[in-house]
């Protein structure tokens, strides 16, 4: 079956890609300044002690062997240790993933809920004020660095208007976070009917989500608009009109349905933008997520977490793209059926 082949192809491609990814990540870790054994042994260790630790860590083995140890370590969840927290990186990750996840999801919602309709309407009402506005936002948004957007929003909504909270984290200092079910404060607060926590966490999520959402929305809107415009010019849309279907129905039914399919592939790329933007936005708002962790570790001369973070993001990216490809294959009958 054609589709089976398609799925198999995609799945098979994942393996060499992951191999390449781990290879790159390993190279970068290997290139890191400093001797990890030294870091582990401490500053006062004797050369003999350091050498002993080196041997135990396998740093004296040939490179391919080290790579093998690295990969097998990864598969066992060994991402190294953080010298600043003193804990395995994996544990630090586990603690901080929900924050990043919450920010990512919220930003995705903002981007999709505003961006896609905006792109569609912009294409349908081409060259009107709405279209010009959306194109301006699209072109401008792509050029605006996300940290700048975030800081400007902070200035306006926190300093000038006092509507937003200070960039100090996910929830007000005097509010207890909701009981942890998923780690997503907003969701957990909803699930435990915790009104104070819900309000506070939403309040704190507002600006970061808007910042990151806006950053990601710009390319999304542009591409949705372009796709929609192309489709509105197509023969089958004209044919549907010629057959007497009402204009509204043709646009929001036939045309939109076709336009949303390529948008699916976009979501994979959007995820990449989201992860990249996450790092910056987490720093601006002191949002205690993975990106924040990776960067602050680097500042304290703790190089491990950042490479693990990068590897983690890359692996996620690979699987997200795979998922997107498969979803696309299901959605488009031209691929699903032969």
């Amino acid at each position: 079956m054609g589709f089976g082949r398609y799925v198999l192809q995609r799945l098979l491609l994942v393996i060499p890609t992951l191999f390449g990814v781990t290879l790159i990540a390993f190279t970068l870790t290997y290139l890191l300044p400093g001797n990890p054994a030294l870091v582990k042994a401490g500053a006062l260790a004797t050369p003999a002690h350091v050498a002993e630790i080196e041997r135990r860590m396998g740093l004296d083995r040939p490179v391919p062997v080290q790579y093998w140890r690295y990969v097998t370590g990864l598969l066992h969840g060994d991402l190294g240790e953080s010298s600043s927290t003193g804990r395995p990186v994996l544990e630090d990750f586990r603690q901080r993933i929900p924050a990043t996840l919450e920010l990512t999801l919220a930003s995705l919602v903002v981007a999709v809920v505003i961006g896609i309709p905006l792109g569609v309407l912009s294409a349908v009402h081409r060259d009107t004020a709405l279209d010009h506005l959306s194109r301006l936002l699209g072109v401008g948004g792509v050029a605006m660095p996300s940290f700048w957007t975030g800081l400007l929003l902070l200035y306006v909504f926190f300093y000038l208007l006092g509507v937003a909270p200070a960039p100090l984290g996910r929830i007000a200092a005097d509010v207890t976070p909701p009981t942890r079910i998923l780690g997503l404060y907003v969701v957990d607060a909803l699930l435990t009917a915790n009104a104070t926590a819900l309000v506070s966490s939403l309040h704190h999520l507002m600006l970061p989500a808007l910042t990151l959402g806006f950053a990601v929305m710009a390319p999304l809107t542009r591409m949705v608009r372009a796709t929609m415009l192309e489709i509105l010019e197509s023969d089958y849309v004209t044919a549907a009109w010629a057959a007497g279907l009402p204009r509204r129905r043709v646009i929001y039914g036939d045309a939109l349905r076709n336009a949303l399919i390529p948008v699916i592939t976009l979501l994979g790329v959007i995820f990449g933008f989201l992860m990249a933007g996450n790092v910056v936005v987490e720093m601006v708002f002191a949002w205690p997520g993975l990106g924040h962790y990776a960067v602050t570790s680097l500042m304290t001369k703790d190089p491990g977490p950042i490479q693990s973070f990068v590897l983690f993001v890359a692996v996620m990216y690979v699987f997200v793209n795979l998922g997107v490809d498969l979803l696309y294959g299901l959605a488009d009958p031209r691929i699903r059926l032969r």
């Binding site: 089958y236 004209t238 044919a239 349905r257």
Partner: protein, 327 residues
Amino acid sequence: MTDLLEVRDLTVHFDTEDGLVEAVDGVTFNVRSGEILGVVGESGSGKSVTALALLRLIRPPGRIVQGAVRFEGTDLVGLSEDEMRAVRGTRIAMVFQSPRTALNPVLPVGRQISRLFELHQGASRAEGRARTIGMLKLVGISEPERRARQYAHQLSGGMCQRVMIAMALATSPRLLLADEPTTGLDVSIAAQILELLRELGRRTGASILLITHDLGVVAEVCDRVAVMHAGQIVEVGTVRTIFARPLHPYTQALVRSIPRIDRDVTMEPIPGTVPSLLAPPPGCRYADRCPRVLDVCRRDRPALRAATPNHDVACHAVEVEDATARG
């Protein structure tokens, strides 16, 4: 007998980035009840735009500048969009060229037909489906139940065209606009499609406006033919007359350029190209390519006049000839 369709002075302009394109200029012709009228011309001569204009499907940057389109007595140009929508697909239907791209790739083809029954005839889902199967059989598609569930990319070009025809004839329109229905199809399939069109036209009593660049197609199925050049109609007449005694130099050149199998002729391509419709010349648009061009041709646009009953020509040279012949 009033004609089914009377087009008078139809003019369509496009406001493009490069300027104003006068795509269709003062087009006048009739379509009689039950006949097949061919509209023939080179690419870019405005044939497709004319068809789209009849259905008021011209979208910005194009617009119908002037003209009247009387269909069964009503002027379509003056109708509101809602009223026009009632005409499309029910009284006038259109078949597009390149059938694969004219079908929605993500909807099963059967659905694209059955929903028209639901829309125009208030049929239920089941009724629509049943009538769709009937239509598919009518247009000669085997295994219609299976085919109806398939998508456009799973069907051959010929089958897609049959589906298009089924879609167009679903609600028994009085007029069918067929825009290059055989372009891109194998010769044998094309012949089948043409035969299908003629047969269905006869059976339902519908008239067909057949747009094509291929004179061979015209000779095959059409009763009368209108020749278009650079957005204007230059000659109208029965197929027999046009082929036997073409009057307009362009028509003559077209007829001459048909390769013949029964005798040796030198193939004579028509010199020059269609003039740009961006800033068309004031006089006759064929002047630069015409072997019989006169001074007046470059100044005044020739009007479409009856040379003989049922044979109209727009040409100064022909008029002059007639005048001298009459003494």
